[in-house]
Homo-oligomer: 163 residues x 2
DNA sequence: TCTGCTTCGTAGGCAAGGCATACAATAGGA
DNA sequence: TCCTATTGTATGCCTTGCCTACGAAGCAGA
């Protein structure tokens, strides 16, 4: 399990045959860790997303929330949190920011006094429209390295993790 | 430890008009967004990782750094940052935390006075050994839903994104 | 009806990351 | 030697994630 600790940067650790001469991206056995690749891929996506949305000044989470509120007018914060796998407190913070920008509003639910019904404001609708264009651009960047079949495959595999 | 995030599997009726037909995981067209699935999968991994490493009090990044320093004794912070796709400043913060725990030390590089050569301390070596066991556990959890072939496939696909 | 439990939103706090800027020391090339 | 690039460092800001606690509202049973 524990590798030779005197190994140099060039050492092939026995995990990757290509590591012998290829010094550049040799990160050893960590390359076999699936979670590691998920993190790196996520990081790469996040960076590109942030760049793409720099003008709009929106984060991934914020866009996701706008999108879902648009898809489900009157949705409650708890429901939103469940769909996006977020904490209630975290959801609060995001909704607060979006509300501060007048992208959406909270209405007390008529059916359940505990809930807040969320609705997009005109400014939110306009922003979402712009955001969807940016998302298309971002998605094109991600998908450019895959065939359609591979995209479907990748989504299917990833779904098994988060479902 | 008890989390209320996934408390109920059944969506409360009447929460949204769209919830009527396609109940549970209906998040609309957002389901076709590859980036969305990457984020969710990453989030699920991160949560499980954090749980698994609660006893060790280590984060993903910290483990990655320990691992890489072990694989490449004397590595510089910049090199580390490049391999993990991190900012120099971010790397600093992580190294600082690991140094505060006496897991590693900074030595001025002999070849290049600007660089810091990083080496694990005995405590770091011991911790890494424990961490690798926890990682094996965590990886088993992630991989449990895939065949070996699918794992290789998934890693290959994800690699195209972050390379 | 009253009572106790649950759910939902809210508030405050804390840690970790990510990123930007600025600065000092060192290397290396012109 | 001088100029520039690299490296580490220090600061600060923002977002996310999670925890605890609390009040308001719904709900179910005594």
């Amino acid at each position: 399990m524990i590798k030779d600790r005197f190994a140099d940067a060039i050492t092939p650790a026995g995990s990757s045959p290509a590591a012998a001469g290829a010094e550049e991206a040799d990160i050893g056995a960590i390359n076999d860790i699936l979670g590691f690749h998920i993190r790196l891929a996520h990081g790469a996506c996040l960076r590109h997303f942030t760049e793409t949305f720099a003008d709009l000044d929106l984060t991934q989470k914020q866009v996701s929330v706008l999108w879902l509120v648009d898809d489900h007018p009157g949705i409650a914060q708890t429901d939103l949190a469940q769909r996006l796998r977020m904490d209630r407190a975290t959801t609060m913070a995001i909704i607060n920011r979006l509300q501060a920008k007048h992208f959406l509003r909270r209405d007390r639910s008529e059916k359940d006094g505990r809930k807040q019904a969320l609705h997009l404001q005109p400014e939110g609708i306009a922003m979402l429209a712009r955001a969807k264009q940016a998302i298309a651009e971002h998605e094109a960047w991600v998908k450019s390295r895959f065939t359609d079949k591979e995209v479907r495959q990748l989504i299917e595999l990833l779904s098994r993790i988060h479902e």
